[in-house]
Symmetry: C2
Subunit: 237 residues, 2 copies
Amino acid sequence: MNCKTTNADELMKTRDKILLSSLELFNEQGERNVTTNHIAAYLAISPGNLYYHFRNKSDIIYEIFQEYEKLVDYYLDIPENRPLNLDDMTFYLESVFDGLWSYRFLHRDLENLLDRDQRLRSDYREFTDRCLAAISKIFEKLAEGGILEPQPDALRAAMSLNVWLIVTNWMAFLKTAHGEKASACLTLHELKQGIYQVLTLELPYVTPVYREQVMELRERYRPTMPEQEDEREVSAG
Amino acid sequence: MNCKTTNADELMKTRDKILLSSLELFNEQGERNVTTNHIAAYLAISPGNLYYHFRNKSDIIYEIFQEYEKLVDYYLDIPENRPLNLDDMTFYLESVFDGLWSYRFLHRDLENLLDRDQRLRSDYREFTDRCLAAISKIFEKLAEGGILEPQPDALRAAMSLNVWLIVTNWMAFLKTAHGEKASACLTLHELKQGIYQVLTLELPYVTPVYREQVMELRERYRPTMPEQEDEREVSAG
DNA sequence: GTATTATTAGAGTATATACTCTAGGTAGTC
DNA sequence: GACTACCTAGAGTATATACTCTAATAATAC
């Protein structure tokens, strides 16, 4: 019930249904484990039908990636004319993790996706650059807002990269840290504990004035370790 | 010349040759792209021969993982009876990234590996726990040595997790950030720039006495952005 | 030397996967 | 009611992949 949503509305065009179902299946089972035949079967259409709408599997993935790109670019459009406050920061963090969740298959086995599709590789590269620039700008504008201590450019760049690494790989970590069972089921709530990790990173740079507030915000995302799974043997203290 | 080593010594037992060549091929091409037939062909032995020595591909991977585990456990054996100094820290960082390099295929598409092999999943989980504990202990002992400010347990745990995320995913980032070409060729030198990122993370916690030295150490690993590839169009600034 | 065990070759197989091809249906237009 | 553009079905294919089976060869023990 947790890991399933309904879609494939009767009113939707086949092409859109393919995109939507592909995303859903990719997210749940991993791109590697979802074949074009699976997608067709899931939609109860023929493989030929699927290939009428898309030249190949890569094209489906590429189109989904472009949606993702658009979404994140939209979220990370930083206002130029004013400093940022804590609400802004919360919004950025929440939005980014929401996007990550909706398109989570992309960050699983990304390397193989990029190896198979050069368009995707160069697009993703530029996407990364844009995101890093956005993160850096957020830091800058948070400093303007008196929330973070101002930092030299080089340090800010390195910090932004660390944030990027944590954000994009938190999901993968959760999957590997997850119990003995299949890694299919994971909740958005768990994913957002990544925000705790990002705020941990920022903590030393928060100005004394805002320390309390940021600590409180961070606390809201603290991982709740005990009994979040129904049945789990205690394996490590 | 950079991405190739010779092995498959004539004196070596077939079983060991299989392990060694598998590791080499996995590292260079990714586990997904290397079949048991490839491994056999590479060694100029028959598939039957390979399957005489290993029940299946998973067993090969599992055994390689156990080597990796042993190596890292050996590196991360923290002395109980004394604080740590800067040389210790350098050693740990260098060693961990060396290990990461030698077994780099493991951290590519790890999720799929874990999904396919339950032994690996639970072993890896415990391995992660041990590493996180080791990182935390290193921080503790660096504080004892007066290099880092002492920190409350909870913060140290979160910081350790951030270090783990950066260390284990730095390679993947480099691969995705790499130019238009195939991601096969990547150097140990580039990988070690991950140390710069880890030290960036620790920087705010370094005591004033050691700040200079740590900054210098960090500088040694600073990424050298311009012209490290033969021909590369300038795409961003 | 012969029996036994360890090792190897190499053809072969079951299954899967991405994708193709032909033929046919539907909807709108004149 | 024929023409056209769009859409769909479904059988089929080339290739790959993990793995098996049988038989032969080398090594070792007695």
